[in-house]
Amino acid sequence: MTDFLLATASAILFTVAVGLVRILGGPGDADRIMAAQLIGTGGIGSLLLIAAATGARGVEDVALGLALLAAFASAAFVNSAAPAEDSDAADGR
């Protein structure tokens, strides 16, 4: 079971790596902003699996913190790359 958990953690890290190769080099900043989201989701997945396999304690708190901060980082990136303009809200949306 431990080996299975570690193998799946490796698989997820591998998908994250492949995804990173694609979007870190991607044209335009929109792709790069997604990198934070990718590593956030994939990283938390690997983290939970590794923790379950190696028996590290208190890792759910790290995952909670990571989840909060991945959202925070993505929002900050979007805010910086394309700051919200007041004219947008006046769009009638």
Binding site: L24, A36, G43, G58, L69, A73, A89
Partner: protein, 318 residues
């Protein structure tokens, strides 16, 4: 090769590759994204090394708050930077590269040549843990065995805020940094801030409280609280406070001040600078940590908000 070893090698390789990409990335924005990704991957490495407290700190501050700080700086520099600009070319660049390689090689040699049982104070620190009333040895090192060090770190944070504020133009001194509160904030970002902030506050306080016995602590909890305030300011649901506000300045110094008072009263009541009264150590430690959390939660957003950019409001009632 076991699955665990393969995982470790893959993770190490990925961290190295992301670091290399960050160094060679073009443009500050791309480099900052790379830096945040690198930080989050590094948290995984810390988990593998069973240093869960450090993983939490790395995620919260190393890539979270510092990432946002860098992105803010990159945004401010955007007008002044071109895509192809390189600050170092030719010989200085080669020299820097050689220096970095030498330092890395030296560190690697030191780690690889470590004797089987390296010199360590870990057994003694675990031995005396029950006297501090704590269950988490990392917190014991930070607030009990090396409290003076931690207090000085908090002073450094205050100095950093003073440094950032002093970058303001003379006429803005005492004003507020950042954008004013928006009449109609962008709905998606506002939604995110409104849902995330209460959850984040809960998680932050939980991580601080739990840090006495489980991985966590004041620094990590404070960083998460700071991130929540920053996101509320980003969504422009609230504006940054004026830098001359008394409550703000008091909150900034509360942490190191309480810490210092505790240390000095230790000299009076417990027989040594930063000694804690026996049997009463844990409440004192939690008391100090509470104020540390307050200071960190206020300091980090002020660092991210930057120097004041609006004129101070004049109090005409005087």
């Amino acid at each position: 090769m076991s699955v665990l070893q393969a995982l470790d090698i893959g993770l190490a390789f990925l961290v190295f590759a992301v670091a290399a990409w960050t160094i060679f990335a073009r443009g500050a924005f791309a480099a900052t994204v790379g830096y945040v990704v690198y930080g989050l991957l590094l948290s995984l490495v810390w988990i593998r090394l069973f240093a869960v407290d450090v993983a939490l700190t790395e995620a919260a501050i190393g890539s979270g708050v510092t990432g946002v700080l860098l992105i803010g700086a990159a945004a401010r520099l955007r007008g002044a930077e071109t895509e192809d600009e390189r600050s170092l070319t030719g010989l200085p660049r080669v020299f820097t590269a050689v220096l970095c390689v030498l330092i890395t090689a030296a560190l690697a040699a030191v780690v690889l040549l470590f004797p089987e049982q390296g010199p360590s104070l870990a057994p003694q620190s675990m031995q005396h843990l029950p006297e501090t009333g704590l269950g988490n040895p990392v917190t014991a090192v930070l607030i009990a065995y090396r409290a003076f060090d931690t207090m000085l770190e908090k002073v450094v944070l205050v100095l950093a805020v003073v440094g950032v504020w002093s970058l303001a133009a003379d006429r803005y001194w005492g004003g507020a940094p950042g954008e004013p509160r928006a009449e109609r904030p962008e709905p998606t970002l506002a939604f995110l801030a409104q849902v995330l902030a209460p959850l984040g506050i809960l998680v932050g306080i939980h991580i601080f409280w739990v840090g006495a016995d489980e991985p966590g602590g004041a620094f990590q909890g404070g960083a998460i609280l700071a991130a929540m305030w920053i996101i509320v300011m980003m969504a422009r649901l609230t504006e940054a406070p004026s830098t001359s506000a008394f409550w703000l300045r008091l909150a900034l110094i509360a942490g190191p001040l309480v810490f210092l008072i505790a240390g000095v009263s230790g000299a009076i009541f417990a027989g040594g600078f930063f000694a804690y009264p026996p049997g009463f150590a844990k409440p004192v430690i939690l008391f100090i940590e509470a104020f540390m959390v307050l200071s960190i939660a206020v300091t980090l957003p002020m660092l991210v908000a930057g120097p004041p950019r609006r004129e101070p409001k004049v109090d005409r009632s005087r």
